[in-house]
């Protein structure tokens, strides 16, 4: 018992210190820097200013922000639409096929993500794989390139982030009690309506988790837009990266980064709202450990 307590204290403290030093502190520093001024010779000077945030209202940055959000939305939606059926298949496949399907999701992780991004480059570029294929099929004459467009960046984001949608979806679909679907059928619901009334609401936490795991990185991944969008293609992530490197404007980068963090917090709130359904309702059916909900067990009479 004592030992157990000691272990708990030790492990919790370690994690707290780790997060404090490597996450909280840098973020606070970043937050601070976002309110500081700079000169040509030093990254920041101890002069308070709101300039950095005001500069984010410039049309150029607003355009970047909107484009980033739009692209992130489209990528997330695409990942959801592609990922849901696959996750469903994965969760419902029999024991022999499942490891192979899993392998399909996991294989990409065995290759460096930069390499994979360059692979997309070779597919989409002038005279690339797609170009050649279309020529052979006689669909298109001559050369074309899909590189350095919104489409190529979208392709890169969707491809890179799809597994992060599939895995949480898989977890929540797998957890879904099949008897509930039978109950829906038994009560007269056809396939479409059992999906809408039972499957979808009960896998909402998985949808929320997957969407966040795709949406946030689509905003902040910087190498994908850089490689597939070209040197001057900017999304929120590459904007921040640019300001911390070549642009050498830490305070503005810090301000943009703070905006990103705010977006993240907003989404965390959204996730809690989506998850509340499950925590309130499904806790018992899905066997909640520990009992963070203690339902009143009131017996009649």
């Amino acid at each position: 018992m004592l030992q157990n307590k000691g272990f708990r204290f030790f492990s919790i403290t370690t994690v707290c210190i780790w997060l404090g030093v490597f996450a909280l502190l840098p973020n606070m520093a970043l937050f601070l820097v976002s309110f500081l001024d700079r000169t040509d010779t030093s990254f920041f000077i101890p002069v308070l200013t709101l300039d950095n945030y005001l500069r984010l209202f410039a049309p150029a940055f607003i355009r970047i922000l909107l484009k980033s959000l739009a692209l992130a939305c489209v990528s997330t939606l695409t990942c959801l639409i592609l990922g849901y059926p696959f996750a469903y298949l994965l969760a419902r496949s029999n024991r022999r096929v499942r490891p192979w399907l899993f392998l399909l999701v996991i294989i990409p992780f065995w290759t460096n993500s930069l390499v994979r991004t360059y692979a997309i480059f070779t597919i989409l570029q002038n005279n690339g794989v797609l170009n050649t294929l279309f020529n052979r099929l006689g669909l298109v004459e001559g050369n074309f390139s899909l590189m350095y467009t919104n489409f190529s960046v979208f392709m890169g984001l969707t491809y890179t982030l799809l597994p992060f949608m599939i895995l949480p979806l898989y977890a929540s679909i797998e957890k879904l009690n099949l008897r509930l679907l039978e109950a829906a059928k038994d009560l007269g619901a056809g396939p479409v309506r059992s999906f809408l009334h039972v499957t979808l609401p009960l896998t909402l936490p998985g949808i929320a988790a997957g969407s966040i795991l795709v949406f946030l990185p689509s905003l902040s991944l910087f190498y994908v837009p850089e490689i597939l969008g070209g040197i001057n293609y900017r999304l929120l992530g590459s904007f921040i990266q640019y300001n911390f490197s070549k642009g050498a404007n830490w305070p503005v980068g810090a301000a943009a980064s703070t905006v990103l963090t705010l977006l993240l917090l907003l989404m965390a709130v959204f996730y809690r709202l989506a998850g509340r359904n499950e925590r309130e309702g499904g806790a018992a059916a899905l066997s909640a450990p520990g009992g963070q909900t203690a339902p009143a067990r009131v017996e009649r009479g």
Partner: protein, 386 residues
């Protein structure tokens, strides 16, 4: 153990009542079901009369759930026909069958309130809003859950969840309600109470119930008829009384309660279904409706409560009784359970009820006793029958 005990006419009351309500509402004709190489059902024929409470009883894995799932449409038969109200339903999808199921662990929708759960079926039928509201109110009233309508299933006790599951099913006015071990998650007291409530509900609604359990007491307490199953076969169908008192096989006899099995040989065939037989070495008269020939080997089945024990000094002609010694005698409140070893080694279990006229039913371990049974209450089976 004969039918004479309570009902000399020989017809069980349940049977008559059931027949008067019309033809079968649900039927299986030569149905087999294989899961890969496992044969879950062998050529099963089953009629469920309209309005009856029919129970499928049998040990784990005998195919009870399979029968329900075939009726509800979640499994398709390998061979044979399923009929609902006289129509073949093999090719009708579950959502179109006018049957509803109460699932073993209730399968309530965790993201919906009690009210929404109960309303689900009517919503799927696209009923008008006010009709749904009214019928949900009635259904909740019927199962005493009006006050909990806005709770989620996770906020209910097991018994309350059970009632929601029942309300959710019966609100659709199904032709038949299928219940798969609905009480298995409840504790003993609640189980008894729910048995009573369900039975009451079934009478009140007049809906046919097909109920699954592996608890014979539960089956007997609730059913008009019981179907005893074993390894995919139906062993016997009958009223609880018939099943208990007139088991047609050793399996049924053993499954529905404790039973003593004695070996015998027919010595003489007499009139009126009477025989003389040597049972465990002693000559006894037997009565049975089954036909036996002289010299045929039989088994004599006796319930513990039909066994009679006599102290050695109470008996004047010991050669007409089985002789043995008391192993042990256990006081059980209403009865005393006595185990006896006959001189030839056969063990006999007896349950004696306390009786004011005959207070002397205490036996000492090792005491010599004479044993017989209430004449005519024996069941005689062919020795070859399993």
């Amino acid at each position: 153990m004969g039918l004479e005990r309570l009902n000399p006419a020989g017809t069980a009351p349940g049977e008559k009542q059931v027949e008067s309500r019309g033809g079968p509402i649900l039927e299986m004709r030569g149905v087999s079901k294989n899961y890969g190489s496992t044969i879950a059902l062998h050529d099963v024929n089953l009629h469920v009369a309209n309005g009856e409470f029919l129970t499928l009883l049998g040990p784990s894995g005998c195919g009870k759930t399979t029968i329900l799932r075939l009726f509800s449409g979640f499994e398709t038969p390998t061979r044979g026909e399923l009929l609902l109200n006289g129509q073949v339903i093999n090719d009708i999808v579950p959502e179109k069958r006018k049957l509803n199921t109460v699932f073993q662990n209730y399968a309530l929708f965790p993201h919906m309130t009690v009210r929404e759960n109960v309303a689900f079926g009517l919503r799927m039928q696209k009923r008008p809003k006010d009709e749904i509201n009214r019928r949900v109110r009635e259904a909740l009233h019927m199962v005493h859950l009006e006050n909990l309508a806005d709770r989620r299933p996770a906020q209910l006790s097991g018994g309350q969840q059970q009632r929601v599951a029942i309300a959710r099913a019966v609100i659709n006015n199904p032709l038949v309600l299928l219940l798969d071990e609905p009480f298995s998650a409840l504790d003993f007291k609640l189980r008894k109470q729910m048995q009573f409530e369900i039975k009451h509900l079934q009478r009140q609604l007049g809906i046919t119930f097909v109920f699954v359990t592996h608890d014979q007491e539960e089956a007997f307490a609730m059913s008009d008829r019981v179907v005893v199953m074993n390894e995919g076969y139906i062993e016997q169908i009958g009223t609880p009384k018939e099943i208990y008192e007139e088991p047609e096989s050793l399996f049924v006899a053993r499954f529905v309660g404790e039973i003593n099995i004695l070996e015998g040989v027919i010595l003489e065939v007499q009139e009126n279904n009477s025989y003389l037989a040597e049972v465990e070495g002693v000559v006894f008269p037997l009565r049975t409706r089954r036909e036996f020939a002289r010299g045929e080997k039989v088994r004599v089945l006796l319930r513990p409560e039909d066994i009679k024990i006599y102290h050695a000094h109470e008996v004047s002609a010991p050669s007409r009784f089985l002789q043995g010694r008391i192993n042990e005698s256990v006081y059980k409140g209403a009865t005393v359970d006595v185990s006896i070893t006959l001189d030839n080694g056969t063990k006999i279990q007896s349950a004696e009820f306390f009786n004011e006229d005959d207070a002397d039913i205490s036996y000492n371990a090792g005491e010599r006793v004479s044993v017989s049974w209430v004449a005519g209450w024996e069941v005689v089976l062919d020795h070859a029958a399993e």
